[in-house]
């Protein structure tokens, strides 16, 4: 308080030092506010798993057929000349069921290959009979090992595979029209004009 203090510079320095906790708390507070508003808008998810490594070649795997489609392997993806989507799904997964109409709508514009993750082949076949089958090719990952090779943590997960079999993009949430419009289409445009 005493402004007549002879050690004025000392007092100023103390003032600065005493302000440090406030500044630190303010930084944290702004961060939290950004996080909260990001969570509201969906642009920030603190629990995002975001695990698979992107921009790498597809892993080594071979998948047996899953009725009604034909299985596929690494070479098939590496031989691609146009981008496709690879979708992991399962009959026991309710969000997958919810995602199916979006995939059905998408299949005419973009080729989709499906992998039934930790699912009985007959259950997966029945599931596709009910919901419609958007997939050109279908593999069965009975024990989930191929899923681990791809780095997935659950279903549904979708990967965008660029020409030459490079993983370009990944979504760990059910695809929505909004995501396709805002993220996937621009990305596809970029892949086509390198």
């Amino acid at each position: 308080m005493s402004t007549q203090d002879p050690n004025k510079p000392c007092l100023t320095r103390r003032r600065v030092m005493m302000g440090v906790p406030l500044a630190g708390a303010a930084v944290l507070g702004v961060g939290f506010w950004k996080m909260l508003s990001g969570m509201q808008q969906g642009s920030f998810n603190p629990h995002d798993i975001n695990a698979p490594v992107l921009n790498r070649p597809v892993p080594d795997f071979t998948l047996p057929d899953q009725t009604p489609g034909q299985g596929f392997a690494t070479q098939d993806l590496k031989a691609l000349t146009k981008p496709i989507l690879v979708n992991f799904f399962a009959s026991w997964c309710i969000p997958c069921l919810a995602e199916m109409p979006t995939l059905m709508a998408l299949k005419d514009d973009l080729e989709l290959w499906g992998i039934a993750y930790k699912d009985r082949p007959e259950n997966a076949a029945k599931f596709l009979q009910h919901s419609g089958n958007p997939f050109t090719r279908l593999g069965s990952d009975r024990d989930g090992r191929v899923g681990i090779e791809w780095g997935i943590s659950g279903v549904p997960e979708t990967f965008l595979i660029g020409p030459g079999g490079i993983i370009r993009w990944h979504s760990a949430t059910p695809l929505e029209v909004e995501t396709i419009r805002q993220t996937l289409i621009p990305l596809l445009a970029k892949l086509k004009t390198p």
Binding site: M1, S2, L11, R14, R15, M18, G19, P21, L22, A25, A26, L28, G29, G31, F32, W33, K34, M35, L36, G38, M39, Q40, F44, P46, H47, D48, I49, N50, A51
Partner: protein, 661 residues
């Protein structure tokens, strides 16, 4: 009579009283108007009473199965046992916020009731700060998490509580933990009042310390209870996970521990004044932000709370006002507080400074580790994980020196000390520590457990030595030592016991690293060998319970042929909720726990096999026993005469001051 509407009204009334309590006494203190200042205790008591009525209404609604109250409908059911109808009130978000507010109200009332010989202005300001904070939380409760909201049409039965929550340990965990968190509001209020007055002195240190110690005792017990609960409920002997929610309780404990030590320096030497004020603010701020950020969904994946952004924004606003406001006041007023006296690095106060540096460094590490992943993802869009291996690697190197210094810190004299005479007096502790190192190195694998065993023995023996030295045990007739012991302030015993408690906990943690376990799938009649014990699965039976059926195993445990215990781990299937829980069976002899879990049934019905999980956990109970001992030490020093200066001067039983917080 105790209708939800009355509860709602009482809550609103409490909010208004709290607002008045937050404003009027401050004005009174500013104008030095005694009559206005004297409103503070009345308002605090009134607010506390209104909250008690409100809480009673919620309990009444739960007990009488009033499912028209949304909160009750969502969390209770007719078939729920009475005890859990009551404790279930604080087992959900709305009820727990109300409990928070109630405890805060009780704190204010306690200051009003037991702070009668505080200077009027200081008491008015302390109560005002508590009232202001309480008003904020009651407003939060009213606007975003109303526990009394009705549903129409009222359901016939509630959705019921998770069977796992029907556990006595869990029922009383939240109130104890909250009392710890909220209790630190009182030192916080004292700090704000001191900043407003611009004066921190020895008397302030003496007044603030009992409140801090009391809150610390509750927080210690609360954390230990939570850890113990996860140990016996999780079914694989885990007790601490470095989870954000656990860290949220550990962080205020660390700064709170620093606070109760630095307040001693304020009291005895008028040093560390500004630092202590900051610690008091920080401890309560961490309590607040920890609990409430978890609810906003940033720190934890519990989806139920991530979905209400209005709540998150309100919480953040409240935190900004309480924490930002107090830190701004600190930045404005603290520079003008008179600096403390000079003291030598090697002295009791020097040791306490070191204690504060180490505790706050550990705290900084825990805060950084907890906040790093969300901030990494916010700033760099990169997801990383920070878990147990990180925290173990970073906190233990800071904790070990703390434990070493703990041994001789309390024996250093004030002002100026010499290290050598103190260390000489600890010769016995040194020898026993060396022996402990030797024994541990022989019987225990791993460098860290060996080191931990050594420092644990060091802390315990040094704490005992501190007392025996002070009473000159064996250096004078026993009667004389007894006389000296009786004359010794109780806080000296409190310190020694609390420190020994830390040693006990560390010993338990070190020994737990040597735990052994075995997972087997066996038919009935098989004997398994683990840690020198023979575990025989005698039979597995079906047994009906009140609202479940259980599969109960009988396991005989023998040691060298002698029967040690018969365990009955079981698996319960709840009929209504289609859930199963596992009931762990623990046999303890205080030196080790034998821990048996019954798993799935495999094989055919004719020849079934059962999965068993058997654990041998050496010294496991010591981890929580140590925490209890720490709290006992705290309570003992609360009963010290010197701590009771804040109590009425008239001859009245004044021992309640300790239990007041």
């Amino acid at each position: 009579m105790l209708s939800p509407e009355l509860g709602h009204y009482a809550l609103a009334l409490a909010c208004i009283l709290a607002a008045a309590q937050g404003i009027l006494p401050l004005i009174g203190a500013h104008r030095r108007d005694r009559r206005v200042m004297m409103l503070a205790p009345g308002l605090a008591l009134g607010q506390c009473f209104a909250l008690a009525v409100s809480f009673a209404c919620l309990i009444y609604a739960a007990v009488t199965d009033d499912f028209s109250v949304q909160n009750v409908a969502a969390n209770s059911a007719v078939s729920k046992p009475l005890l859990y109808k009551i404790t279930g009130v604080w087992g959900n978000h709305e009820g727990s916020v109300l409990l928070w507010a109630l405890i805060l109200g009780i704190c204010g009332a306690a200051v009003a009731a037991f702070g009668r010989n505080l200077p009027t202005a200081l008491r008015a300001r302390v109560i005002a700060v508590l009232g202001g904070v309480a008003a904020g939380f009651e407003l939060f409760c009213l606007t975003t998490s109303d526990p009394f909201a009705r549903v129409w049409p009222a359901p016939m039965d509630g959705q019921g509580m998770n069977p796992l929550l029907q556990d006595p340990g869990l029922a009383f965990h939240p109130p104890i933990l909250y009392t710890g968190y909220v209790g630190f509001a009182v030192p916080f209020a004292f700090a704000i009042a001191a900043l407003i007055e611009g004066r921190v002195d020895a008397a302030w240190g003496r007044w603030v310390r009992p409140w801090a110690v009391a809150a610390w005792c509750f927080l210690t017990c609360g954390i230990a209870l939570g850890s113990w609960w996860s140990y016996y409920v999780l079914g694989w002997g885990g007790y601490w996970f470095w989870d954000p929610v656990e860290n949220a309780s550990l962080i205020p404990w660390l700064t709170g521990t620093a606070l109760i030590h630095s307040a001693i320096v304020v009291e005895k030497r008028e040093g560390l004044k500004i630092w202590t004020v900051l610690l008091a603010i920080a401890t309560f701020s961490f309590s607040l932000s920890g609990t409430f950020l978890v609810r906003s969904g940033i720190l934890n994946s519990v989806h139920a709370f991530a979905n209400d952004p209005a709540r998150g924004i309100f919480i953040l606003g409240l935190l900004a006002v309480v924490i930002g406001g107090s830190l701004a006041l600190f930045a404005y007023r603290a520079p003008s507080l008179t600096a403390g006296g000079l003291f030598a690095p090697i002295s009791r106060e020097g040791a306490l400074v070191l204690n504060n540096i180490l505790l706050c460094s550990i705290c900084a590490v825990v805060v950084t580790g907890t906040m790093y992943p969300p901030f990494m993802s916010l700033l760099f869009d990169r997801t990383i994980s920070v878990g147990k291996p990180f925290f173990d690697a970073t906190t233990i190197p800071l904790a070990l020196p703390l434990f070493v210094f703990m041994g001789f810190g309390p024996m250093l004299p004030w002002k100026r000390a010499q290290l050598w005479p103190v260390l000489q007096r600890l010769w016995l502790a040194a020898i026993l520590t060396a022996i402990a190192f030797g024994v541990a190195a022989y019987g225990v694998s791993g460098l860290l457990p060996v080191l931990s065993c050594g420092v644990a023995v060091w802390i315990i023996i040094a704490s005992v030595t501190d007392i025996t030295e002070r009473v000159k045990l064996f250096r004078m007739p026993l009667a004389g030592s007894w006389q000296r012991a009786r004359m010794l302030p109780r806080s000296i015993f409190g310190t020694a016991i609390a420190h020994a408690g830390v040693g006990i906990t560390v010993l338990g943690l070190a020994a737990m690293s040597q735990a052994q376990h075995k997972i087997v799938e066996v038919p009935v009649g098989t004997t398994e060998h683990l840690a020198g014990y023979d575990w025989t699965l005698q039979k597995v039976e079906q047994a009906p319970g009140p609202n479940y059926t259980a599969m109960v195993a009988t396991i005989e445990v023998r040691h060298n042929g002698a029967l040690v215990t018969v365990m009955h781990p079981s698996k319960r299937s709840f009929n209504s909720q289609n859930q199963t829980t596992t009931e762990v069976s623990i046999h303890t002899n205080l030196l080790s726990d034998l821990y048996g879990v019954l798993g799935d049934k495999h094989g055919t019905d004719a020849a079934p096999t059962y999965v068993l999980r058997l654990h041998y956990n050496p010294l496991a109970p010591w981890m929580w026993l140590g925490a209890l001992v720490m709290a006992i030490g705290g309570v003992l020093s609360l009963s010290d005469r010197r701590m009771r200066v804040g109590a009425p001067r008239r001859a009245k039983p004044i021992s309640e001051i300790g239990g007041a917080a």
